[in-house]
């Protein structure tokens, strides 16, 4: 146990198992694919959960890190590792995946092998994005996950699936190509300064870049991530993709994929280009867009007739909160943003699952086709209520902790924006409660709804972990905050100190191939254990 979790290999193992599972899915029979996939994801979950406890709190260094040469000629390495931020994202992924696979059992009826294999490949891609510490590797993972998602929407989606899949693909690909250009420019600059070609994060972060160019590169990275987040006005692919995607696709899309945009900002765009990330025009633009997203998406969500589309718009609003918190660039804001990413993954994922469950029963997503379901589906009503309350940030649920931290952080930085963002809390009630009411409350008028069965055991077991997490994070968020705090502080310090011109230019002597986000300043960070040993 200790040998595994102290080792370099645990993360690689997490990346490899889904791929093996995918092969097994394709090789096995049509009926066995679902079980193969479920077992694979459960295995990954079981392997990843102990990371939460073996993770060493209080250090911003990357743990369980590996750095092996891959394409030596260009300095591309297989460099992976995790800090507190990645840890939460990894766990979010490994928790959501088995749930969304179990949630597909009755939804996916055709081409099961291909579906579950796509899901598993997607899982590798997502995990890879969260652990990659080499920009080339990151880009590869970033693109890998695009394809299975495209297939999942395009093959197993609803009526307009082709349109949505293409829209999803084009939006995302357009952004990521710009990012590729920026990566190449960055590597070129690094090579000019040091004479060594390297794609490794720890090297590139040392590159000094003129402020003007930083702005351009940040814009290129930022556009890729902003589309993924999605930041207003790049959000219109999201409702379409969500509406057409199968339940599992929506769950993963909302639960994990959207987090990659924010993660990209956190891990790459901000530390690599600190001057740009802290410049007024950039912060102003992003925060304003986030704010507009919060309010605008809430407004639009309030008038949606389609439940899935409504939830999709709430994602835009929630991610708007996350972006506002992130660019507050203080401890509360960033921690809240990260926690809110986890929260959003849980509660929005659960919402999509719930809508998927009634969709399977009634084959409609229109809110108006329901009503009074609490009478025939009491457990469903209970779960929907809890999840909806979490989504609107009721204190005691996870949603509140994230939103509160974000808003407290943002208020110290830009009070007016924070106050306006707080109105989003009001609007959240104004879109979520009417939906809840029109689905589970009100008289049961439609005859078709009278015969609906309540959730079966499988569906309940899918939901219980999410419901438990909603309350757990709502009441005891501190263990989660503890794990990210050192990384968050490291990030903030890194960005804040390196934007100063005197420290912006670093000599190549610091460009050692060292796998840690070297925190500057006086903070005493314990020297990393070279073997990445088990926690204190």
């Amino acid at each position: 146990m200790e040998a595994l979790y102290g080792s370099h290999w645990i993360l690689t193992l997490l990346l490899a198992i889904p791929l093996v599972g995918a092969v097994a899915c394709v090789a096995g029979g049509e009926g066995r694919a679902r079980w193969t996939a479920l077992l694979t994801t459960l295995l990954v979950l079981a392997l990843s959960l102990p990371l939460f406890w073996t993770f060493r709190i209080g250090t911003a260094e990357f743990q369980n890190a590996v750095s092996l040469p891959w394409i030596e000629r260009w300095g591309i390495r297989y460099a992976i590792g995790m800090d507190g931020i990645s840890l939460l994202m990894i766990l979010l992924t490994t928790v959501i995946m088995p749930i969304s696979i179990a949630g597909s059992f009755s939804y996916i009826k055709t081409k099961e092998r291909a579906f579950y294999a796509s899901m598993l490949v997607l899982m590798t891609g997502m995990l890879g994005v969260f652990v990659a510490l080499d920009l080339f590797l990151f880009y590869v993972f970033w693109e890998i996950m695009l394809i299975p998602m495209y297939l999942i929407i395009g093959i197993w989606g609803g009526k307009r699936r082709i349109y949505s899949a293409v829209k999803f693909f084009l939006f995302t690909a357009a952004g990521s190509l710009l990012m590729l250009v920026a990566i190449v420019v960055l590597v070129y600059l690094h090579q000019q300064q040091t004479g060594v070609s390297s794609f490794v994060y720890a090297d590139l972060i040392q590159t000094s870049i003129a402020p003007g160019l930083q702005l351009l590169l940040f814009a290129a990275f930022g556009l890729a991530f902003a589309i993924k987040v999605p930041l207003f006005p790049f959000h219109t692919w999201l409702p379409d993709a969500h509406v057409e995607a199968p339940t599992a696709g929506s769950v993963i899309l909302a639960g994990i994929l959207l987090k990659m945009g924010v993660y990209g900002f956190l891990r790459f765009a901000m530390p690599l280009f600190p001057v740009a990330a802290t410049s007024l025009p950039v912060i102003g633009t992003i925060v304003l867009l986030g704010l507009v997203g919060i309010i605008y998406a809430a407004w639009v969500a309030a008038v949606q007739p389609d439940a899935k589309k409504l939830i999709a718009y709430t994602s835009v609003a929630h991610l708007g909160f996350v972006m506002v918190g992130l660019f507050a660039l203080n401890s509360q804001g960033v921690s809240g943003a990260i926690l809110q990413m986890v929260n959003h993954g849980i509660s929005t994922g659960a919402l999509f699952l719930l809508v998927g469950m009634i969709y399977e029963r009634r084959h409609t997503r229109l809110i108006a086709d329901f009503g009074g379901l609490a009478k025939v589906m009491p457990f469903f009503a209970f779960a929907l209520t809890v999840v909806a309350l979490s989504s609107i940030g009721l204190p005691g649920t996870n949603g509140f902790v994230g939103e509160f931290l974000i808003l407290v952080g943002a208020f110290q930085r830009y009070p007016l924006v924070a106050v306006l963002a707080t109105t989003g809390v009001v609007f959240a009630a104004a879109y979520m409660l009417p939906m809840v009411q029109r689905i589970i409350l009100n008289p049961l008028t439609q005859e078709e709804n009278r015969e609906l069965d309540d959730l079966n055991a499988r569906e309940r077991w899918i939901l219980w972990p999410l419901l438990a997490l909603i309350l757990l994070i709502g009441v005891f968020p501190q263990p989660f905050l503890d794990r990210m705090s050192a990384s968050v502080d490291g990030l903030i310090e890194n960005v804040q100190t390196r934007r100063l011109p005197s420290q912006a230019s670093r000599g190549p002597d610091l460009g050692a191939n060292e796998l840690r986000l070297a925190p500057t300043g006086e903070r005493a960070i314990p020297e990393p254990d070279p073997d990445g040993g088990v926690g204190p």
Binding site: H235, T236, V303, G409, V425, L441
Partner: protein
């Protein structure tokens, strides 16, 4: 005196109701048909919490600490400077509130056993009710603002769930939704106030804030005024004051015990509690205090006028509640915190009593109609009448409640209301004082109207209903009796010196340690005003005005009784619509309609516009336009793909010629 006070079983006070909620919640799925378990679990957990509260009260009386006892449980969230613990705070005020909540709550739980007897959602009901008690206790016992906010929104949630308890009625679930959303507007203010507090103090713990506020905040400054006004916005939502009071009358959709507990006795008074709790801050902000008191007085008057022309018995009581809450805000607004809390307490007794009595009436009419097969609105007083003989206990206890709320000596309401009026007077708020007096008379008027229409005159419940109408069971009238007793004696904890009665000073001395800092600050801020006068704005001492107000109240009661007892009302189905000014009052000054036209509809139109025009046309239009450009370019290019090999070869050859030619020449 300075011994530390150790709270007895603090976790259990909160834990028991929560346990009850969980058990009943499981019961709502697992043993849906069992009435026994919820009937036991529901009331007993709350009463046990009450017992622990009493034990704490006795312990605290022995010590009488000047500092609140803090019970840290666990770290909730800590990030950077922000450090919020789940921490309970026991002082005289929170303990008093705990007793009111668990005491009145326990009584109402018992009453509910009878009232909800035949409801299919019995277990679910008690789950919500217990959960409400839990959140209400968090609200009053929390030692920091965020934790208080947990209770604040938690009670809102329970209110939402209980208003829409009979969710199959669209109006009822609409009412629940309205309550939640309107409350959220207030919560927005609470949140912003917390952000301001945190950026000022670097902490959200109440003891620390109150300790440092006089030094950190400039008295009468913009910052403290902003903080307190935002806090008050939260109170306006939760305690149903102008302009956010509109949800409370609709909230009567819930079961009547819920109206009694949540929408009269406890939750809606949370705003008063918050202002009193944050007295130090409000004392630093005279402008905010003026706003609080003015809004309170205006609300008291507006709601009282509306109550005059309502026919739904619960609506009358709801507007009465809003009006009485206005009184409480007048009290805390002018800095008479003890008076506000005093009225809060007595109001909890008599308003709970009145609601439960109304519930008994509704229950009886409902049952009678179920027997005769008649249909109609059992809440409508035009369908009642003459129930005094049929339901003697209910009638008698409700008269006690009426006398209490009308401020007739020696009932509880007299002492608390009189103190508010008197405090307004001596502190020089002449307008508020006058308004408070007028509203007191209006109160006597609409309450007497309610009693007369319900219990006097002829019975209008329809053919044959009379023989089926009878007194409710003991499980329901016993709570009425207890509350009636409290409505009588509840005011005797604080009898002013000036009256020719034995002087009692339990409440003031009890709450003094809590409000002392606020009063000191207020004295400092208002230093130039000097001592308060000892006469009312029109002259005369406290005894005179007390006698005058109680006499006037009695006169009003008698006049209204004489005026209405002879009047022959028609049952609701046959009654004509009110006309003239009565119609304006009957339609509640058309405020709901106004909000609908000015706020709800324009917002919905705006939102729809955002979706249909901005999203679908502008953003997607841009994207689709780009796609169109790309498609056009593609089409142009595809015209080269003629499918004719010869063309391809020609182009290829021309290209080859260009390359070779550039080499050759």
């Amino acid at each position: 005196m300075n011994e530390a006070f150790q709270p007895i079983l603090p976790g259990l006070i909160l834990g028991l109701p929560l346990l009850g909620a969980v058990l009943n919640g499981i019961g709502a799925f697992a043993w849906r048909d069992s009435k026994t378990i919820p009937s036991l679990v529901g009331p007993l957990t709350v009463l046990a919490a009450f017992a622990i509260g009493v034990a704490n009260l006795l312990a605290m009386r022995a010590v009488m600490p000047h500092e609140p006892a803090l019970v840290p449980l666990w770290t909730w969230m800590r990030s950077g400077e922000l450090d919020i613990s789940v921490m309970l705070m026991f002082d005289q005020l929170s303990l008093l509130m705990t007793l009111v909540v668990t005491g009145v709550g326990g009584i109402i739980h018992v009453y509910s056993v009878g009232y909800m007897r035949d409801d299919p959602g019995y277990s679910r009901y008690f789950a919500y009710l217990n959960l409400f008690i839990f959140f209400m206790l968090i609200l009053v016992l929390s030692a920091n603002y965020p934790l208080m906010f947990v209770g604040w929104e938690g009670v809102g949630l329970c209110s939402y769930l209980l208003i829409g308890f009979w969710y199959e009625n669209r109006e009822y679930s609409d009412a629940g939704k309205k309550a939640f959303i309107v409350n959220r507007i207030g919560d927005f203010g609470f949140l912003v106030a917390m952000f301001l507090l945190f950026s000022t103090f670097g902490t959200l713990d109440m003891p620390a804030i109150f300790r440092e506020a006089p030094e950190r905040l400039l008295a009468d400054g913009a910052l403290v005024t902003a903080i307190t006004l935002f806090l008050f916005l939260g109170c306006v939502g939760k305690s149903a004051q102008i302009p956010l009071y509109v949800w409370l009358p609709d909230a009567m959709a819930g079961p009547t015990p819920v109206s009694a507990l949540i929408h009269a006795a406890t939750m809606v008074t949370a705003g008063v509690y918050l202002v009193a709790r944050s007295g130090v801050l409000f004392a630093l902000a005279p402008v905010s205090q003026a706003v609080v008191a003015s809004v309170g007085a205006a609300t008291a008057l507006l709601a009282a006028t509306i109550a005059l022309q309502q026919f739904d018995i619960k609506k009358v009581l709801a507007y009465s509640t809003i009006s009485q809450l206005g009184y409480m805000f007048v009290a805390v607004g002018i800095g008479a915190y003890t008076a506000g809390i005093f009225h809060l307490m007595t109001h909890a007794f008599f308003k709970a009593l009145l609601f439960l009595g109304a519930g008994a009436v509704i229950h009886a009419v409902h049952d009678a109609w179920a027997a005769t097969g008649a249909h109609g609105d059992p809440n409508d007083m035009r369908n009642h009448g003459g129930l005094r003989r049929l339901m003697p206990v209910t009638g008698t206890t409700m008269w006690i409640g009426t006398l209490a709320i009308a401020g007739v000596i020696p009932f509880a309401g007299f002492f608390s209301k009189d103190e508010i009026i008197w405090q307004a007077g001596v502190r020089g708020y002449a307008v508020l004082w006058a308004l408070a007096l007028v509203v007191a008379l209006l109160t006597a008027g609409y309450m007497t109207r309610l009693m007369v229409m319900t219990f006097h005159g002829e019975n209008r419940s329809g053919e044959g209903a009379g023989s089926h109408l009878h007194e409710v069971g003991a499980v329901m009238w016993m709570p009425l009796a207890i509350l009636a007793a409290l409505s009588v004696v509840g005011g005797w904890v604080q009898i002013p010196d000036a009256l020719p009665l034995p002087h009692v000073d339990l409440l003031h001395s009890w709450l003094e340690p809590v409000f002392e800092p606020a009063l000191l600050v207020a004295a400092g801020v208002a230093g130039q005003h000097g001592e308060a006068s000892h006469t009312a704005p029109l002259g005369g001492g406290e005894a005179l005005w007390a006698a005058l107000s109680t006499t006037l109240a009695v006169i009003v009661i008698l006049l209204v009784y004489r005026g209405l007892a002879a009047r022959r009302y028609r049952p609701a189905a046959e009654a004509a619509e009110p006309t003239g000014f009565r119609a304006v009052l009957y339609h509640k000054w058309y405020v709901d309609e106004l909000y609908d036209r000015l706020v709800v509809r324009p917002l919905l139109a705006l939102w729809r516009g955002c979706w249909r025009i901005v999203d679908d046309r502008i953003i997607d239009g841009t994207v689709n336009g780009l796609a169109g450009v790309a498609r056009l370019a593609g089409w142009t290019g595809s015209q080269l793909q003629s499918g004719r090999v010869a063309t391809y070869l020609l182009v290829f050859m021309i290209g080859a010629l260009i390359i070779l030619g550039s080499l050759a020449f």
